[in-house]
């Protein structure tokens, strides 16, 4: 039973992070390999806002999330916008470089030690007993709920909202979308903002649950196979992919070898790339295939 709960929690973590990859890829065909570092930065921002609003936990978290929105838009406006029209790969490598830069900057500003933003905020973490003898920590439970809420609102936003429709249009055919008067730069900046926001939600909740250190970027990178397994341009796929990767990881760690934790997502990734490179639910891209 505990195994099932672990799978659900890890699925929620991966899914919440993976939807950031999917949002950006779906709208602008850019793979953001700095996503892990961006969510780590957001978690560190919480550390900073926690010292600003000591005692006001909600205000601090809201401020950190708001800042992450700004960070995402700034990354697009000051960095990725300059690369519009270049090779897709140049953009990916730029995000890789951004990741390296952010790792260095976070260590410089906040040191490499494991830190606990829950402490200055005065928030505690306790275990909730579930039926069947399993336990889940408060923040992990909140993370599962958040993931569900984020996915529900993203689906609603992309299906029903005017901006959501514009985003889908930009993702399908940027040229036509631009000719119909859609401001592509605004759409891309919005996608980056939303993606960083979902990442920040994951980063903040993980930091509150188990503390915050440089390993958080690795969690972000491990969520990337989940996005690709499901299909890089499909939100439902990200959910499915996260479930597959998380189950494989939890079960294999439990039964085979804990050291495998780092590689399992990538093993799943290799298998899927061999069999179905566009992912389980992704649209087949003829251009990107041989």
């Amino acid at each position: 039973m505990q195994l099932a709960v672990n799978i659900v929690v890890l699925t929620a973590i991966y899914a919440l992070i993976a939807c950031g990859y999917v949002l950006i890829y779906r709208v602008s065909r850019v793979l953001n390999l700095a996503h892990g570092e961006l969510l780590m930065l957001s978690a560190y921002l919480l550390l900073w806002t926690a010292s600003l609003f000591a005692g006001h936990a909600i205000a601090a978290i809201a401020a950190a999330l708001g800042l992450s929105l700004v960070v995402g838009a700034m990354v697009y406006l000051f960095l990725l916008r300059k690369l519009t029209g270049e090779m897709a790969l140049a953009a990916v490598l730029t995000t890789v470089a951004l990741g390296v830069l952010l790792r260095g900057v976070t260590v410089l500003l906040w040191s490499a030690q494991q830190q606990y933003p829950a402490v200055p905020l005065g928030l505690s973490n306790w275990a909730i007993a579930l039926p069947g003898g399993a336990r889940i920590s408060l923040w992990a439970g909140l993370l599962v709920v958040t993931t569900l809420a984020v996915y529900a609102s993203l689906f609603a936003f992309l299906r029903l909202g005017r901006w959501g429709m514009r985003m889908r249009a930009a993702g399908q055919n940027p040229l036509l979308a631009a000719q119909r008067g859609i401001n592509l730069h605004a759409i891309y900046a919005l996608a980056w903002s939303l993606s960083t926001l979902t990442g920040a939600l994951a980063g903040v909740l993980i930091a509150l649950d188990s503390g915050l250190g440089q390993t958080m970027a690795i969690i972000g990178l491990k969520a990337f196979p989940a996005a690709l397994v499901g299909g890089l341009d499909s939100l439902a796929g990200a959910l499915l992919g996260s479930a597959i990767v998380a189950s494989a990881e939890v079960i294999l760690i439990h039964h085979v070898d804990p050291l495998l934790s780092e590689v399992i997502p990538f093993l799943v990734l290799i298998v899927v790339l061999m069999l179905r490179p566009w992912g389980l639910l992704g649209t087949r891209e003829e251009l990107d295939r041989v």
Partner: protein
């Protein structure tokens, strides 16, 4: 051999001239001069400088191999550290288990590299671009995991110590001897890569990079030439990893992180895509960069205050430089050099005449 200047126009009249490695007298004497300087350097330089030069040569071998794959054949790889690790671990394992001498371990490392090249290359037959980069990234983690697993299982959890190789009954420990060995290896790699790039294989890779469908139509075996690029590049990289293991005398999986792969990609970007000289310039730049940062910061805020921050400062500065090159100068250092050359050649004009001149 032509004695005519190449710079101010296109004077080549036959294919042999077009293919020659060093077409003009100036280039020939420049290369000769550089070789002489490189051979004299270890006699006068300090041990620190010799070590630095040796590191540059090692990095240059890996960067040349990656340039062949990415810059010429157009196949992106984010798994370079995995291949270096494979070479280093081949040496480490063969040495620990069988006490194998270096003339066994080096070819073995090359063979392992070639084999891994096939493995790394197989996804390239099915996916390209972004997806290929991702699959090599995944393989990088896989190789690192296998190395870590070996370390943990055999009880070398801190790393494997490798004795220096013996040449003619004597252990090679002298820094100058290493300098010469690595210089020769780098020059040999450069020569091999240059020849591959100007031969049939190079033309096939250029065609594949430009357009696979057209390459196929022209009768180029796309799959086999892609795999060839992966195999050669991986074998060379594994040899670089093996030399690294011997040079350091120590193999540990920690040395082969994702960051190392990024560094190699940075070398070929900063150097300039599609140019072997660019790969060497990039290797030089990326290898010396942390030392330059350290020296300048040490002078600025004092070495003691800086000590704890070195990794963070390096990472931040490195990321920033990589971004600057990607955004402002995608052609890299070699692009800067070409532009500078063009500027002086055309002076007082600013543009080449339409149609006439080279390129």
């Amino acid at each position: 051999m032509s004695r005519r200047p190449r710079a101010s126009g296109y004077f080549r009249t036959d294919y042999a001239e077009d293919l020659s490695l060093l077409p003009t007298r100036l280039e020939r004497s420049a290369v000769l001069g550089l070789l002489v300087v490189l051979l004299i350097l270890p006699l006068v330089a300090s041990p620190f400088l010799i070590d630095l030069a040796a590191q540059v040569f090692l990095a240059a071998i890996g960067a040349l191999a990656l340039m062949l794959l990415t810059g010429y054949a157009g196949q992106v790889s984010l798994g370079h550290a995995g291949l270096l690790a494979a070479g280093a671990f081949t040496v480490g394992i063969l040495f620990k288990e069988l006490k194998a001498p270096f003339f066994v371990t080096l070819p073995a490392a090359a063979a392992v590299g070639a084999l891994l090249g096939v493995v790394f290359g197989l996804p390239s037959l099915r996916v390209r671009g972004l997806y290929l980069a991702v699959s090599t990234l995944a393989l990088n983690f896989l190789v690192a995991y296998l190395g870590g697993e070996y370390e943990a299982r055999r009880g070398f959890s801190t790393g494997i110590v490798v004795d220096p190789p013996s040449l003619a009954g004597k252990a090679v420990t002298d820094a100058r001897a290493w300098y010469v060995i690595l210089l020769l290896a780098a020059v040999a790699t450069l020569f091999l890569c240059a020849n591959l790039a100007r031969a049939r294989s190079g033309r096939a890779w250029a065609a594949i990079r430009a357009n696979e469908t057209v390459a196929q139509t022209l009768g180029i075996g796309v799959a086999s030439y892609k795999l060839l690029a992966f195999v050669i590049s991986s074998a060379l990289t594994a040899v670089a990893g093996a030399l690294f293991a011997y040079y350091r005398g120590f193999v540990s999986v920690e040395a082969f992180s994702l960051f190392l792969s990024i560094q190699y990609v940075a070398m070929i970007i900063i150097g300039g895509m599609g140019s072997l000289a660019g790969a060497i310039l990039g290797a030089l730049f990326v290898t010396l960069f942390p030392y330059a940062i350290e020296a300048s910061l040490g002078a600025l805020i004092g070495a003691t205050a800086y000590a704890g921050l070195s990794f963070a400062v390096n990472a931040a500065a490195f990321g920033a430089v990589m971004i600057l090159f990607l955004v402002l100068e995608p052609q890299g250092l070699i692009g800067l050099w070409r532009r500078l050359k063009t500027y002086f050649l055309l002076w007082p004009f600013r543009h080449r005449p339409v149609g006439g001149a080279r390129r």
